[in-house]
Subunit: 146 residues, 2 copies
């Protein structure tokens, strides 16, 4: 997030409340030295960690396991010029603890389609930032300079 | 994009057609050595370049001018489990040519709110990738491993 640009910054609690409203966000990482971004469905753990579920053999898992990633979600009304964007930044790791995996199988995100061997990936909520913009007289563009 | 994961890959023309449908995407870059992502309104230039308009003094401009960035847009139906995601990857640069600036003032993106000194940023469409997923019997999750 960019400070002093006229947006309303959201506190951690507001960010997590908004994140919990949406089923899909975007994971941002580095792939072959280039920025990469991909939508994924997710759920939030009790502590604000982002939980993903994917195939153990996926390239995504190899790309992000052990790396610091960002996970972004937003809702924008392009007519009203209002909305919000939240980013969780922290290390991503495949969940290896069997007890934790069992818990997440019951309570974690569902895959939109199942694959033979699935893993959960947890993104630690080290940094949770967000911003809101409002339409009407307090219009602020999504452009972060405003 | 991750190959061989069951999604339908979109060709460049399909990607640009979809991008042109939506007013807002997300710019992905590196900020203070961390992945950063921010929604922005945009327009497409004739050659598929992504055009942004922002304050000349914005931190975003300093962060991305001269860097390779990714710009992502998507539309996802979380109920039908269908949608698409397109990513344009290439170097971002502030447009400095006066003739080009004048052209973009007429035809480029509008700021959602104006600031005293604005610049256009152009992201070269060096790499344009996209994927579609379809609901129903051909359901494929957004999870790239499937």
């Amino acid at each position: 997030m960019y400070p002093n640009d006229g947006f309303r910054e959201l506190d951690r609690q507001e960010c997590l409340r908004l994140l919990a409203k949406v089923p899909v966000g975007r994971i941002v990482h580095t792939r072959q030295a280039l920025p990469a971004v991909l939508p994924l469905n997710f759920s939030l753990d009790g502590d604000g960690a982002v939980l993903l579920r994917t195939s153990a053999a996926s390239e995504l898992v190899r790309a992000i396991d052990g790396s610091v990633v960002a996970f972004e979600a937003d809702e924008v009304d392009a007519v009203a010029h209002s909305g919000w964007s939240v980013v969780v930044t922290g290390p991503a790791a495949v969940v290896t603890d069997p007890v934790e995996r069992e818990r997440l199988t019951r309570t974690g995100p569902r895959s939109w389609v199942t694959s033979p061997e699935e893993v959960f990936v947890r993104i630690e909520p080290e940094l949770v930032t967000g911003r809101a913009l409002m339409g009407g007289r307090t219009l602020r563009g999504l452009d972060p300079s405003h």
